[in-house]
């Protein structure tokens, strides 16, 4: 069963309106939200300012999962806009996936542009979902399974024995096979 009562989502978007919208969508779905306006602020929030923090965390087995209570920042999912000045959502995705502390946090990308090659690249490089803007409540509803998977993975890492009741079968996400949300691959 979930060890947390509320999931914490980190939302990243340079548009104030879109930040407000995603925040409302997430809060309506009972998620705790932190909204920032850039990829670098997101990394700052996570504590990934430079390589050093990452190396320190490497040695600590306890703080591998971001859902860990001991961790300064408990983020269960990151949802980011693609097109942002400076660090794009894709750059942010790569940085998260390269981080030993945070690579298991599900990342979702949003974009106003329907560009199949962009979408595929994000999905292949580890994004769980790709939402076309404007993001709707039905999109946000798709986040829950990814968040639940994070909880299960954490339990697995902590205990190594299968004590969960009624859990879905646990498998690492198939990153090589792109997944689509009503999108066509050209």
């Amino acid at each position: 069963m979930a060890t947390q009562t509320q999931f914490h989502v980190l939302a990243v978007d340079d548009s104030l309106i879109d930040r407000k919208l995603i925040e409302r969508l997430l809060k309506t779905s009972s998620y705790q939200v932190t909204a920032v306006d850039s990829g670098s602020k997101a990394l700052e929030f996570l504590g990934l300012n430079g390589e050093n923090e990452d190396e320190e965390r490497n040695s600590s087995v306890e703080s591998v999962s971001a859902a860990d209570e001991d961790h300064q920042v408990g983020v269960n999912l990151i949802i980011t806009d693609y097109c942002m000045p400076g660090m794009t959502g894709y750059d942010l995705l790569r940085k998260i996936k390269q981080s030993s502390s945070f690579k298991d946090i599900p990342v979702v990308i949003m974009s106003s542009e329907n560009i199949p090659s962009r979408i595929n690249r994000c999905l292949e490089d580890g994004a769980e979902e790709f939402f076309l803007k404007p993001v709707k409540l039905s999109d946000v509803n798709k986040l829950r399974p990814h968040l639940m998977k994070g909880i299960t993975t954490k339990n697995e890492m902590q205990s190594n024995t299968n004590k969960r009741k009624g859990s879905e079968e646990i498998q690492s996400p198939d990153r090589t096979r792109p997944r689509y949300n009503e999108l066509e691959v050209v």
């Binding site: 548009s15 104030l16 309106i17 879109d18 407000k20 919208l21 409302r24 969508l25 809060k27 309506t28 097109c83 106003s112 803007k133 404007p134 709707k136 409540l137």
Partner: protein
């Protein structure tokens, strides 16, 4: 509660006309659905942000298009892209549609076309602003009379 019913009727009719005339699309309805007791001013707040954004971006575009020594179309396009995004997020369909055309002219580096679009977008923005202000006024009247705001599908 005759007054409330009358006002609610007006609100519904006005809302419907805004949708019918293409000022607003389904995304605006989505925003209204997200408004609740926890966030009673959500739509008005988002609309205010949108209008501020519009003004800022329109000014940016105008300035960029005025440049005598050569228009930086990438800069214009960046602003149009942002406006397109915001208008899409709030459901401002007519503004969004102008932005789509505007981007084509930016790509083609067509200054005349861009200026025409700038004029259109300014026009659409101010039309929408007036209409939403009317809509919100009706909302306020309904609430002041003790009624609730109907959700228009």
């Amino acid at each position: 509660m005759d007054v409330v019913n009358q006002l609610q009727r007006q609100f519904i009719d006005y809302s419907a006309s805004l949708h019918r005339e293409g000022f607003l699309d389904d995304q605006f309805t989505q925003l209204q659905k997200l408004q609740d007791d926890n966030s009673p001013d959500f739509v008005v707040e988002v609309a205010s942000l949108f209008f501020e954004d519009c003004e800022k971006l329109i000014n940016n575009m105008a300035r960029a298009l005025e440049q005598q020594q050569g228009v930086d179309f990438k800069q214009v396009d960046a602003s149009v892209h942002q406006l397109k995004g915001s208008s899409s997020s709030i459901g401002a369909m007519r503004v969004k549609d102008v932005c789509i055309a505007f981007r084509s002219f930016c790509e083609a580096q067509n200054r005349e076309g861009c200026l025409r679009c700038l004029q259109q977008v300014t026009h659409e923005y101010s039309l929408l602003k007036n209409k939403l202000q009317t809509l919100f006024r009706l909302q306020q009247q309904i609430l002041a009379a003790g009624g609730s705001i109907p959700v228009v599908e």
